[in-house]
Symmetry: C2
Subunit: 243 residues, 2 copies
DNA sequence: TAATTAAATATGTTTAAACAAGTTTAAAAA
DNA sequence: TTTTTAAACTTGTTTAAACATATTTAATTA
């Protein structure tokens, strides 16, 4: 539930932009007009605008106004967005998700695992291997490590549905920040066993460390995508580096 | 030149965090203390903290304080950061850059180019093809399209050095936002001709549209990276999606 | 008419204050 | 001693105001 005013304005403007209520390159109403429209202070509309700018939706211009620079992307590939579950991603991409559990075990982190995942040696973990299909086609192979201490009660049944729904809904965990790195890696035997890779000999790999609202890492995941169904989006803004 | 107070605080805190003046998982001084330390208002320190949070450096905790969650990455691969020139990236990765111009031509956008690059049909463009080497090893193949109207005067000599230095320094262009998509694509004949790909049959490809401070797109670039020297980093924060 | 000047309008930065809400600490009560 | 309560401290949201700076528009002047 978005209770904060700036979040309501953010969502409302975002929806208008995505629905092309404002055209690409069109100017948004001035801050003054938005203040009247939403009956709030200047700072509050500015916060909503700032977040949409960070999303790559808007370009504020000093003294001129704020321009819409959002362009809808054609959805051919499976786009990776913010922190979201496989279910949420599938829904956003208008595809039917299906998950098959390949492995579900518990283990204790050793030094090798600590180095790779960031979980301290001795940590109790769940290790899950899942094959993800979209519209019946197996496309993604996930290797998850969850910190047992913060995710206790996980079962294969939950892993087949939605782990995040369980963590947020049942356990009351607040998922906050995810650090991700994207690389291209050679296919493994497991990849080949479960995914039809044509003649590709590499996979698009997203590894992520995810933290709760206390800054404690509870998840390490390696998500291996079939290359031709993979698309990662990002918006960067340039920071003045001249000292 | 960072003239804004929040930017000075941002840079100062960032440096302290990167230099491990604060340890991983350590708490930062409270807002109150930072206000005294930097002699500024609460909003100003909060802005600096907010930007470092977006960078994945900090995790603010309601009622508790702000935790440092920055972990230095081991620099084995070539990491891709914000909007930066090849020169800037190379410097950040402590590598020696070298650029070889393969092609430098002018052309007019047709419908095919418009669809791919986002430049309107009829736009006058520079088209540049460049091979990028790091420490003597050819690793990246760049295909650039620059809108002539905003980048006039480009020459092969400039393209061999730094286009961004020319645009920002000489032309006074302000580079603002870059929308990027990351995909994995099959190698082309040109890739194979210039880059030693071992047995890899794909490349990591970053395509980007870059805008100036008026929201006008002046660049479209496809940057093709050798897979084993490529690493893309990203930080995502979860937005409460429950309505 | 054309150029200049001034006013109005736009976003950018900073400070101040008030209140909300979560967490910790210390005091008070059982 | 243990539990409860209250105070102190933390970050989160919102409003208000002032000033800076860039741009556009309108008025003025040459």
């Amino acid at each position: 539930m978005p209770k904060a005013k700036y979040d309501i304005i953010y969502r409302n403007l975002k929806e208008k932009i995505e629905n092309e209520h404002y055209a690409y390159q069109e100017m948004l109403p001035s801050e003054h007009k938005l203040i009247q429209e939403y009956d709030c202070s200047r700072n509050t509309v500015r916060r909503a605008i700032a977040e949409l700018t960070a999303d790559g939706y808007l370009q504020p211009m000093h003294g001129k106004g704020v321009r819409n620079i959002y362009q809808p992307v054609e959805q051919t590939a499976f786009t990776v967005g913010g922190i979201e579950s496989f279910k949420e991603s599938a829904k956003r991409n208008h595809r039917e998700p299906f998950t098959q559990i390949i492995q579900f075990t518990e283990l204790t982190a050793d030094e090798k695992i600590e180095k790779r995942t960031g979980f301290k040696k001795g940590s109790e973990l769940y290790y899950i291997q899942r094959l993800r299909s979209l519209n019946g086609k197996p496309l993604i192979l996930d290797h998850n490590y969850f910190l047992k201490e913060l995710t206790h009660g996980l079962t294969p049944e939950i892993a087949e549905q939605s782990v995040y729904e369980y963590l947020e809904g049942t356990l009351g965990l607040t998922i906050s920040t995810s650090k991700r790195t994207l690389t291209v890696e050679r296919v493994t035997q497991i990849d080949e066993k479960y995914i039809d890779l044509k003649d590709y000999n590499c996979m698009a790999v997203i590894t992520s460390q995810t933290f709760d609202d206390n800054g404690i890492q509870f998840e390490y995941t390696q998500s291996r995508h079939r290359p031709d169904y993979f698309l990662f989006q990002d918006v960067a803004t340039r920071r003045d580096n001249r000292r």
